[in-house]
Amino acid sequence: MAKKQRAGLNHSQWLGAIVIGILIVVLIVTFTSKKASKKDTKQIVIGITQEPDTLDPLFQEMAASTELYALYFEDMVERNENWDLMPRLVTMIPSIENGLIKKLPQNKMQVTWHLKEGLKWADGTPITPQDFIFTHEMIMDDRLPIISRDLDRRIEKMQAPNDHTLIVTWKEPYAYANLGHGALPKHIVEPEYKKNPEKYKESFFNSKPLGNGPYQLEEWVSGSHLVFKRNENWGGDKPNFEKVIYKIIPNTNALESNLLSGTIDAISPLGLPLDQALDFERRHGTKFAFHYRPSMTWEHIDCNLEDPILKDKRVRQALLYSANRQQIVDVLFQGKQQVADTWLPPKHYGYNPKVAHYNYDPDKAKKLLEEAGWVLSPSGVRVNKRGDKLHLTLMSTAGNKTREQVEQVLQSDWSKIGIELEIINQPPKVFFGETMRHRKYKQMALYAWVVGPVSDGEGLWTKENIPSEKNNWNGQNYPGWVNEQANKIDHTVPVTLEESIRKDLLQQQQVLWADEVPALPMFFRTDVSVTHKDLANWKMTGTTTPITWNSEQWRFSLLK
């Protein structure tokens, strides 16, 4: 027995030594490895939840790719934080007034672009109109997976009379022809493309692009980070940071921890959801700068107008009057989002502030429902003459916490006026890929559209764009709204060159739309990002123009 105890003691010492040995190794590594240098003011590290798909601008699909694009590419024309158009590669933005946009016979149009002198790609090669012409040809090549050719398919031809002038002939007038064209470095891309056009989609340019922006890609470690270094051949003001680093951190809680531990200096707008950012601000509001900017992401509920209940305008109006949207915004988002009255945001040039407002008014809602033949039954649910219940279904994306909360508030609001709401949520892939794409939603669908600074209603509200088997499920008019007057306006806007006329047309369209409310406008989302307090010139745009639009101006204002 004594022998066994001795042996046990020896074993425990031996076993304990292994465990302690591991702990010692861990501690040595923790304390002796080279410490990362203190806050490096020559670079900025930004945390982002999404990894870009590709850095070749021709094939980009993800928002993260768009955010990075503005670091290493510069366009002919860009927007600033006030959405003003700025000429970047060109001397002047074409317009009818300055004569650079001309109407041609046979309803064609010509736009002339003058490139600035001394423009260079990052390798020092001059940028010429040939780069733009070549890129347009690539975009129109059916063998390449170009996502949208909406702009380029309207172009008849591009010509370069000299090394600084690009003349674009359009098949018909196009309102947004002054937004410019993209270019790839022909001298780099063409040999690869010509070698095998079908294989070009797999080319080196996806991960090693050469651009003309303030920074150039130095390193991309898949799934981990991307490092951009200053482009010495960039013609603009010298960027303040030597390097811009994007660290990919998919988990938003880990994103917070990385900011708190000083691993990153900023969280990209593609980082925290608004509710988490508000909570983070409550806990650490004094340590960081929180940037909020109303965006153009329009949260709304599409109403299926083929449904016998919802095809009655009064029911749709009653739904809006009885949804306390302001309370949703105040309680769920601390008032940081804007209640929507129409499908265009207040910042859009065509926004009409004089459309019908549907402020919370349950009495008005009840009256409208009664006019529509829905009377309150003893069970508390409204019924029609036939005794059918006023039962509606609302579909959305499962797992989206914010939308699920909104649905619950709506269910409660609508039950107060006798509407029974059934919530059916689906995984986003099924909801968008099947249910919406093929208009399989029964009555209502809650989701969002991203509206751009020049968005018009052609794709969203014209009768030709109601997806059906007949038109091969083309278009995004999921409610199936048909209004002949609005339809005419929606087709006229994109081919009207004068902005003042377009504005007037869009405002007329919104009056018609807000009266009929084929979709129930909920609110415009707010973008949020969090940064180190000393980071200057971090200017969110609230639109599709990414945060990186002025990356050359970013700097730490007080740190040395």
Binding site: K3, K4, A7, G8, N10, H11, S12, I18, V19, I22, V29, T30, T32, S33, K34, A36, D53, E61, D142, L144, P145, I147, S148, R149, D150, K201, E202, N206, V221, S222, G223, S224, V227, I245, K247, I248, I249, P250, N253, A254, S257, N258, L260, S261, G262, T263, P427, V430, F432, G433, R437, V450, S455, G459, L460, N472, W473, N474, G475, Q476
Partner: protein, 297 residues
């Protein structure tokens, strides 16, 4: 199966952008070969792999799949190997100790800690480790694989400590329980009493006779966890921003990136078979009765 999943990403493009037309979707599907029936696509891929030795390209990242997977496999391998070794080195001695000193106070404490280890959710543990060691104490990095711009082994090891710890805790918990129960069963066998009666010393009894027999079920558990060395751990990788196979496999399945998902699954299938083979060999090493050949007759 992947091809039957609803919500093809190419189809989804049209619901994200009003400028995209049905003709764009048809064109993109043709370019990616998605306009063909599933079985045609499968045999085309098989031919490509066998005849042309081309494992396909990633529709999402526009790169050859091999290029994407090789970096991820390396990252996952080092992470999971670290967790695997740490689990064995800690759990096996503790499990043996616990069995030898069964029903002692320390055995109870070890058992409670093992159950806590098994029960604790890895996402919670990961976040707690980050909160304590990165946020509060500032000793260890909150995530990633290395300090950007620093190529130092010590630095890389530092980045591995928290994810390895997070992964190991659960494995240690279950392994301690397996080793303990297996060892406990063996040390109560008659042949060990006989060995003691023969006057063998305790070390020989425990480590030559008891442990080798107790290891057989443990080897099964360890061998089954070998494919995990490359399949990765989605939650840990996501929390610690570790670019490994777990995240890649999940992302590729969710985004219908067929070739990446197929290659990753193929790789896993091969590894599962290989690990079963390794387990069979190890059984033979630790237990002579299992060996085939002349001695076993």
């Amino acid at each position: 199966m992947l091809g039957l999943m609803p919500g093809d990403p190419v189809e989804l493009l049209i619901t994200a952008n009003p400028k995209i037309k049905a003709e764009d979707i048809a064109r993109l599907k043709k370019v990616y070969g998605l306009d063909k029936p599933i079985y045609v696509r499968y045999f085309k891929w098989l031919k490509q792999v066998v005849v042309e030795h081309d494992l396909g390209f990633s529709r999402t990242y526009k790169k050859p799949t091999v290029e994407i997977i090789e970096g991820r496999v390396k990252n996952t391998f080092f992470l999971m190997l670290g967790a695997f070794l740490m689990s064995i080195l800690i759990a096996v001695p503790i499990g043996i100790y616990s069995a030898i000193n069964h029903y002692s106070k320390l055995d109870f404490i070890i058992s409670i800690l093992a159950f806590i280890g098994i029960s604790v959710p890895s996402f919670w543990l990961g976040l707690m480790l980050i909160a304590v060691f990165s946020e509060k104490l500032g000793f260890l990095p909150a995530g990633g694989i290395q300090t950007i711009g620093m190529d130092d082994i010590g630095d890389k090891l530092k980045y591995m400590i928290l994810p390895i710890t997070s992964l190991s805790v659960q494995q240690i918990g279950s392994l301690v329980r397996y080793v303990r129960s297996s060892m406990l069963e063996v040390i109560q066998q008659d042949y060990l009493r006989t060995a003691r009666a023969k006057g063998l010393d305790e070390d020989t009894i425990l480590y030559k006779h008891a442990l080798r027999n107790a290891l057989i079920p443990v080897i099964t558990i360890l061998a089954l966890s070998l494919p995990g060395l490359v399949s990765g751990a989605v939650i840990t990788e996501t929390i610690f921003a570790w670019p490994g196979m777990g995240r890649l496999l999940l992302d590729s399945v969710l985004s219908n990136d067929y070739y990446v998902a197929m290659l990753a699954l193929l790789f896993l299938a091969v590894l599962t078979m290989a690990s079963n083979f390794v387990a069979d060999i190890l059984y033979a090493i630790v237990d002579p009765r299992i060996r085939m050949g002349r001695n076993a007759k």
